[in-house]
């Protein structure tokens, strides 16, 4: 098993009374509440954590979100550019730039190829669909994003792998008559591919394409369902069974000297679920296309109705979760090194072998010092044992 470090670089320092009064902590919160001097410190700390990972053998993950307290990284390719140069050893995963929001996938391909070349072939490319507030802040139509997602991927992959001069793309969502990126990627025909989804239908398509399927804060049941769909789709297509390297899991992870410290400090990570997910209804449950129209009775009504199941919105269902609940669901692994190792091994027994563990190991009010201590302990005491699995 390999470990990957993800710090979404949130900005938790907005006064609580402002957050309480805001309709949404993403999308519409004015940026006057983000002090650039504090943000600069947070960027420096996050980048230092990535450099620490480079020294201790933990791969690094850059993501992006927009216009909210949950993530200051508004452009994954920009951060990749820094990581490609400043790290020397580890793999770098972009998970990812929001291709359903970017209007020109060719520019995405060009940025990824550049980062791959600067890093001399250490880039891995992850695709994410995004949603909610991202559609408002990115001015992107929330209806039809699955179709747009796959066309963007097809165009990016052709742009990365095409070596013989300009080609033309006149698709349903994207047109670009003269595609010819310089440089092409270091890794030929293109860097390894990932996608984040817990949706079984999308997982099936990942399976047919052989793309790494990474879960982000999904319970064991959801993970097993998505990966089952991945395996089944490959079998039905007559493709070889996937190895563990096709699967990844993202969890809140914190390793302390003691169980008490691990759970106490690790519990700070749940700020991400309990504070940073709060989103106005027009950006979430009422966003057209976000959930099938057939689920409207559960989303619009304020009182339960007989025969109407609760709407399946996994992230929102996690708001208010405690550390103990998160650990029971496999969303968080926390404690002393033995406990963290045991929890990961048990989770693995529940969902099947997976090669990639993404550590969401700094969020909310956790300090840089706490984060680096947890990472060092994990790398020294837990990771060697995971590599044996």
């Amino acid at each position: 098993m390999q470990a990957w470090y993800l710090n979404e670089n949130p900005y938790p320092f907005v006064p609580p009374h402002v957050l309480d009064a805001a309709e949404s902590v993403r999308g519409s919160l004015p940026n006057k509440y983000c002090d650039p001097k504090i943000a600069a410190d947070l960027f420096q700390e996050a980048l230092d954590e990535y450099l620490l990972c480079d020294d201790i053998g933990i791969n690094v993950v850059s993501n992006e979100h927009h216009a909210g307290i949950n993530c200051l990284f508004g452009a994954s390719p920009l951060i990749l550019g820094i990581l490609a140069r400043q790290t020397r050893n580890v793999r770098i995963l972009s998970l990812g730039t929001l291709i359903t929001v970017r209007t020109d996938p060719v520019r995405v391909a060009e940025e990824y190829a550049t980062a791959d070349v600067i890093s001399r072939g250490r880039l891995e490319i992850g695709f994410v669909k995004s949603g909610g507030t991202e559609m408002a802040s990115g001015n992107a139509n929330p209806v039809g994003i699955v179709d747009r997602f796959w066309e963007a991927i097809d165009l990016i992959l052709k742009a990365l792998s095409h070596r013989e001069g300009p080609f033309s793309w006149e698709g349903k969502h994207f047109t670009h008559r003269h595609v010819n990126i310089w440089p092409g990627p270091w890794q030929q025909p293109h860097p390894p591919l990932w996608a984040a989804t817990g949706d079984p239908t999308t997982s099936a398509e990942l399976g047919r394409r052989g793309i790494v399927n990474v879960m982000v804060f999904r319970t064991a049941e959801e993970t097993a369902r998505a990966w089952g769909s991945y395996r089944k789709a490959r079998a039905e297509a007559g493709l070889p069974a996937p190895g563990p390297d096709r699967f990844g899991h993202t969890a809140f992870v914190y390793t302390g000297d003691t169980d008490e410290e691990g759970v106490r400090v690790g519990g700070k990570l749940l700020w991400f679920l309990n504070t940073a997910l709060r989103s106005a209804p027009q950006y979430s449950k009422f966003l057209p296309g976000a959930v099938p129209a057939e689920l409207a009775p559960a989303l619009y009504t304020t009182k339960p109705r007989p025969g109407v199941p609760a709407a399946a919105r996994p992230a929102a269902g996690l708001i208010g979760i405690t550390a103990e609940q998160a650990m029971a669901k496999g969303l968080m692994f926390a404690g002393n090194p033995d406990s963290v190792y045991r929890q990961i091994r048990e989770y693995r027994e529940r969902v099947g072998p997976f090669e990639h563990l993404v550590l969401a190991s700094r969020s909310g009010f956790m300090t840089h010092g706490e984060a680096t201590k947890g990472l060092r302990l994990f790398a020294r005491e837990v990771l060697p044992r995971l590599r044996e699995l």
Binding site: E23, G27, A136, N139, N141, P142, V143, G144, A280, P281, Q282, Y283, F286, L287, P288, G289, A293, E294, L295, A296, P297, L299, Y300, T301, T302, K303, R305, V308
Partner: protein
């Protein structure tokens, strides 16, 4: 008696509400299909043969995969016009349907003899930093209701009082509108340039309290259509046909008989 029938228009199945008799009145709905039980339908049917299709994807209607732009809807209704009962047609467009009606009228189809636009969308009149049309997708739902109705307390729908079927239809309406009109948001940047091509008698009706598209926007719209008349309906918001059906139909009747 009202009937809703499934009509084939160039291979596209279209749900069409018909009521009344006499001269055809083709009604293109706004953010939701015309409610067959709404008083305005019977009131209009006393003066005309009301023909009200549901735009594919709205309500419970089907939408072919390759029909997803306003361009498609405009051509669908140009086709439908060709197969209506004989005689000159009055074209009425409400809200989003007003955009469609304006596009169709600018194409000068020979069957259309009159045009009625009601709280219509479809053009850009303000400067680049002043949106003309309230963003019904990115604005808090309570604020949208406040701007939509003259009397929100009376007219804003209560989801807890709606049937499951009506809630699904509501979600499908939002999804369809979003698909057709997200970008540019509810207007065609080129339409205003061509509204001068509308040569039929035109009535522009507007709810005086409309906060989705204001009466000032309605006046600017009207000014671009040669000879068009602008009339306000008091004590009505974005849906005068719902909040003031009597006054609304009286204006329509007077226009049809003028």
């Amino acid at each position: 008696m009202a009937t809703t029938e499934r009509v084939d228009v160039g291979g596209i199945p279209l749900d069409v509400l018909r009521r009344g008799a006499g001269r055809p009145l083709l009604v293109l709905h706004g953010e939701a299909p015309l409610d067959p039980g709404a008083p305005v339908v019977d009131l209009l049917a006393a003066h005309a043969l009301v023909i009200a299709p549901t735009h594919p994807g709205f309500g419970h209607s089907a939408r072919p995969d390759d029909l997803d732009t306003v361009y498609d809807l405009v051509h669908l209704y140009l086709d439908l016009l060709e197969q209506l009962p004989p005689g000159p047609v009055t074209l009425m467009g409400l809200s989003f349907g007003g955009w469609l009606a304006a596009e169709i009228a600018a194409a000068r189809p020979h069957r259309v003899e009159r045009l009625i636009l009601v709280d219509a969308m479809g053009i850009k009149v303000g400067d680049r930093e002043t949106p003309d049309i309230l963003d019904v997708f990115n604005t808090a739902p309570a604020e949208v209701q406040r701007r939509r109705w003259h009397e929100p307390a009376k007219w804003a729908p209560d989801p807890d009082a709606m049937s499951n079927e009506a809630l699904v239809a509501h979600a499908r309406n939002r999804e369809a509108l979003c698909l057709y009109a997200w970008q540019p948001y509810l207007y065609n940047p080129r339409l205003a340039r061509w509204l001068g091509r509308v040569t039929v008698p035109t009535l522009v009706l507007w709810g005086a309290s409309d906060g989705i598209v204001t009466p000032a926007y309605g006046r600017a719209y009207c000014a671009r259509i040669p000879g068009a008349r602008f009339e306000l309906i008091a004590a009505a918001g974005h849906h005068p046909e719902i909040e003031q059906p009597g006054a609304f139909v009286e204006r329509v009747r007077a226009f049809l008989s003028s």
